[in-house]
């Protein structure tokens, strides 16, 4: 997805009002972005607090600013700068966090981003979690305020086509309940259920933006009286599942069963690939199949 993001940024570079910052991250990924942006691409060095302050200053003068780093370095370390400098003034700064969830796998827990969506949502930031590579082109076009863009890996089966980008979209029909997946886990769900019988598999929804305002009415009618599954590579607190549970209660919608799978941290005390951690959390292909078969 990082390459797709870079390509989308190259296409966006013709807008002279866009500025791109990195904090010395992006080797073998952002070179084309650097070349396309010229002097509007700045490597701000290993200094995340300064990155956010400078980005806010630039945005205050009319630029749209993309600020890029490894996800946890971007949302956790300079949290106060994000809150005070960007959010209080509603500035058009897009924080681009590479490696959402366990995507940095073997690099270890310091590089994992498991609570980012909750942290950013709590500040009122628009949280975007693209599911598929082609989503990036749509998402980078539409930055008008504080935004967090969480990048991961497109996990759908090779060559599988998906509907055009929407914050919420049904990517697979089924009759055995509803499964809602945050970001790239939609691709894992597609891989899990693509060869299953229509009557036995759930309908699968891809969610790429948090917030109640973007949930389509069709979802509420689909889950009423049905089994409702929510999966996310994010801790339970403040994530998609909790947000949806809150919405269900407010709306008085009653699924037959609400089932939530989420990032459990490091239950075994050991570390490994993204696939390893997903398996430990029941978020891998086989575990998802096990929910239904």
């Amino acid at each position: 997805m990082r390459k797709a993001f870079a390509q989308a940024m190259v296409e966006a570079a013709s807008d002279p009002e866009i500025f791109f910052f990195t904090v010395d991250v992006g080797f073998m990924a952002l070179e084309e972005v650097r070349d396309a942006f010229g002097d509007r691409f700045v490597n701000a060095g290993v200094a995340e607090q300064n990155l956010i302050g400078v980005s806010a200053g630039m945005a205050r003068e009319g630029y749209k600013v993309f600020s890029y780093s490894i996800a946890p370095f971007l949302y956790a370390r300079p949290f106060e700068q994000i809150r005070n400098d960007v959010c209080f003034s509603g500035l058009p700064v897009c924080l681009v966090g590479n490696g959402g969830g366990y995507a940095y796998g073997h690099m270890g827990p310091t590089h994992h981003a498991l609570e980012d969506c909750a942290a950013m949502s709590s500040l009122g930031i628009r949280v975007l979690v693209p599911a598929f590579d082609e989503d990036l082109r749509e998402l980078v076009k539409d930055i008008s305020g504080p935004t967090y863009l969480r990048l991961g890996y497109d996990a759908r089966p090779s060559g599988m086509a998906v509907p055009r980008y929407a914050p919420w979209r049904k990517v697979m029909d089924g009759k055995n309940g509803v499964l809602v997946a945050l970001g790239p886990l939609a691709g894992v769900a597609l891989a899990a259920f693509a060869d299953c019988e229509f009557d036995k598999r759930p309908s699968v929804w891809s969610v790429c933006e948090l917030g109640e305002g973007v949930v389509p009415d069709e979802l509420w009618s689909a889950v009423s009286g049905s089994d409702f599954h929510v999966i996310e590579e994010h801790v339970a607190a403040g994530g998609l599942g909790m947000q949806l549970a809150h919405s269900l209660m407010k709306k008085g919608v009653h699924p037959a069963r609400f089932h939530h799978r989420y990032a459990l941290g490091y239950p075994s005390g050991t570390y490994g690939s993204q696939e390893f951690h997903r398996k430990q959390c029941g978020l891998d292909r086989d575990s998802l199949r096990g929910l239904f078969f």
Binding site: A47, Q49, V54, G57, A59, R60, E61, E80, D85
Partner: protein, 242 residues
Amino acid sequence: MHMSANAGHVGGNLSCFDALMVLFHCFLDPEDRFVLSKGHSAGALYVTLWSLGMLSDDDLDTFCKDDSRLPGHPSGSGVPRLMFPTGSLGHGPSLAAGLALAAKKQRTGRKVFCLCSDGEWQEGSCWEALIFAVHHRLDNLTILIDQNKLQGFGTTSEVVSCGDLRTRLSGFGANVISCDGHDVVAIAEALQAESTAPKIILLNTVKGLGTLYEDKMESHYLPLTQENFEFTMAMIERNRPQ
């Protein structure tokens, strides 16, 4: 204003007030930018803006009261010339560096000024910003440091000393000028000095100048007592130019 609101931070407001008045009355062009990094000196800034007709008596009467645009630390909106909410220390230099970089990229002649406290330079983010500003040759950026040598719970040298701040700042590549922060001519000369690098003006100041708790720790947090208020007002009257 502080007396009416029973507000603290009197000391740090009085130590930077002369510099703010010189800057705003003599140097700051309408298109220039200012960042109050030491947000706890919002009162001094509000009064400076009032002296320029940008705030009214009625505005000042709301300082630190309910339904006010003038909280104890600036909100960043609703007040002329305020661009950011500040109050947590160490944010201003990066914000100012971003404004200065934008001015360069937009090829404007805008200048950017940022007022910090001296204790604030215990924040690592200030040094991150300085490294960035020097690297990008932001000669349109001037950082003023109100060096009153007292912070929240001790002197700056006792708490966590930055040693000789001038040497350290110079070592990072800034053009550092020291002056008496209560001598308006010296402040003006420092602001006027040409620089090819980011400029830092170290203002040697006295915290709580003219009050009963002048140069004392109490001036950081404690509001004025009636006795202190009357003493301070009498001092101002005595020093008023005839």
